[in-house]
Point group: C2
């Protein structure tokens, strides 16, 4: 077991009707003006945005709004948000939406409080020294950004998708009403479930022997998401299932399932980021499409760990070697993805990259040869290219 830090300062307010508490929650931070940040029209059409604004008004909180965040949120809107916040004296950002909106809010928060170009942080050129306080009203269970230190932004010039993590950006509070996720289309719901599972799977499949406590929590969390994803396939308005998935989404990426690990192997996320950047696919679906290829490429480095995954999570019966059990586990997870209509190849994802595009993604993912990714097996650009090939 490794030493670890665990820091989750976000106050979670979870359950039915909780979005009405938003105004009262913000009041506690003594801010002067709030930027309400959101995405497309769904929060408007559903009336959620109105309810939130009414909650702010009845708490006497001044605010302005900025919508238009898209999935794989764009750097250009982040720049626009930064300018707006500076001009208007905004000192608190309320993100109403899913991970893309929250990530965009965090990026704006960095840009307002730090000098220079905010993209520097995402390019790992320097570290942020502050972030505006961010609160969230979550409408999509997926990214875990409502409790995490992460933010992922796409720079349109070159379609480069990069993540940056800092404790400064952990939301002050997150309001989570599972009812708000009930109208999500099936594809987005299932894509969210995959993203949630992957946040724990990437911590779980690593090089050390974790804490037993962490392993059991992780195994139960993944099984719970799988079970409830299948319920939601038939009953998208099942409150209990929506709630299980939503809370799993936060616990999966707030650090809990990483305690005592070596930090995990984030290669699948990094491999998907290039897909998201270039083809604008749904993040979770992209993860499902490449995970099996990644897993088969690296499994021989840690067959015993993949065997534990197979037995404790996928319910595979141990038989023969660890490697045999491990491979059955990978297959079982791909079968699960198929069962919830998620892709297990690029083709099923609806993406058919040219040879040049595959090479370009592999180059971008390895920062043009300047970095390797992963820890179960350390992957360079050539390895990444092969995984993209296998995933076609």
């Amino acid at each position: 077991m490794n030493n670890f830090e665990y820091y989750t300062p976000t106050k979670v307010v979870f359950g039915k009707g909780t979005e009405l508490e938003t105004g009262a929650l913000i009041q506690g931070y003594g801010c002067k003006k709030v930027l309400v940040h959101y995405g497309g029209g769904s929060v408007k059409r559903s009336g959620l945005l109105d309810r939130i604004c009414q909650s702010l008004e009845s708490s006497g909180i001044a605010y302005i709004t900025l919508g238009g965040v898209v999935p794989n949120p764009h750097l250009s809107l982040v720049y626009e948000g930064i300018e707006l916040c500076k001009k208007e004296g905004v000192d608190f950002i309320l993100a109403v939406g899913g991970g893309s909106v929250i990530d965009s809010a965090k990026a704006i928060g960095y840009g307002v409080t730090n000098p220079g170009d905010v993209w520097d942080f995402y390019e790992k050129k320097r570290e942020a020294e502050a972030c505006l306080p961010v609160g969230t009203v979550l409408t999509i269970a997926a990214a875990g950004s409502e409790m995490s230190d992460s933010s992922v932004i796409t720079k349109e010039d070159g379609w480069i998708k990069r993540g940056y993590s800092s404790n400064f950006s952990r939301p002050k509070f997150s309001v989570m009403n599972p009812e708000l996720t009930m109208t999500l289309p099936e594809y987005q719901t299932m894509s969210g479930c995959v993203d949630i599972m992957m946040h724990t799977m990437e911590r779980y499949l690593n090089r050390v022997d974790n804490m037993e406590l962490t392993d059991g929590i992780s195994e139960h969390l993944i099984r719970t998401v799988m079970k409830n994803a299948q319920i939601l396939l038939n009953e998208p308005k099942n409150y209990e299932a929506r709630a299980e998935v939503m809370w799993a989404g936060s616990l999966s990426h707030n650090g809990l399932t990483g305690c005592g690990t070596d930090g995990g192997d984030w290669a699948t996320h990094q491999i998907e980021h290039e897909l998201g950047g270039m083809f604008d696919v749904a993040h979770g679906a992209g993860l499902a499409a490449v995970w099996g290829s990644w897993a088969r490429y690296v499994v021989s480095e840690r067959p015993e760990r993949f065997a534990q995954f197979a037995i404790n999570i996928m319910g595979v019966e141990a038989s023969g070697s660890d490697m045999e059990t491990a491979l059955k586990g990978i297959e079982a997870m791909e079968n699960f993805y198929r069962s919830v209509n998620m892709p297990t190849s690029l083709k099923e994802l609806g993406v058919e990259p040219t040879e040049d595009q595959l090479k370009e993604m592999a180059e971008k993912c390895s920062y043009w040869g300047k970095r390797t990714i992963g820890c179960v097996k350390v992957l360079d650009g050539e390895d990444i290219y092969r995984i993209y090939q296998d995933a076609k």
Copy 2:
């Protein structure tokens, strides 16, 4: 599933050698003078106090010390600490010890920042509006006070033990090195394990259908503590087992295992508090001594929930009615307590109260008829008296 709030702002720094980071951690809070609060001689004898003080000195942090905290910490020392902090201009309290020291630190923190008698909060006469920032270096895995909002203090005048909970007192950081718990005597180690288990059991055995995610985390946490308690019986210096128990102690009482519940049934804790107040027994041992009597007294109200407990935690095979399975689960838990040399009756606890003392405890516990306790079955003074009788 119920709506819930979850708020755990404590930064956890966990693992070998982490106590050396204490000075650097405190530096981040910009305080002027620290009170280093501790208990008996063990932290002195072990050299831990010296290491902590050196860490403060090398970070340029001014401090004073106040030792002498006893198990079931006394109100008189809290008053002394409050006076000392006010006189010396202390603005941060570092608790070096177990739950008693941390609870005493929190009480001092309330007393310094709120007008009037600090005991008012523990008597539920009014609410605290602030608390000095508290940090901890944990040396006993048990109370969970290192991440919780709780503090339990004993007023010597009448030997009244009362708890008070407020988010203001959640520690800013907690340093947890499992190695620091290795020299604890077996009785204290096992007593700590029972306390940790009970913090989740009291949340788990309640009146609602919890979240499945919460239930599975709770079940795994309790099983993990049981398994590692038995390892520590034979190998008290097993680092991995100490670490599992220590981290379970924090997760068990930071709110995680209560998410989506009705808050749980805290009757066993409240029944034990009177024992602790009157006879100064080890808290966890006291809980073990009365739990079985409480469980049998209330089980008929929720046999299906106790049956789930029996099957998923105690490994009992379901057979016959829920009630039969439930009773086997209670027996199995008592057998576990015995297996780690914990008492399952007052006599085994070493306490033989007179009839008058039993009545006095029941009266105190029901606030002289002014409150009931528990939710699985709501208990009045007469019920509490019968449970003490059954536990003899």
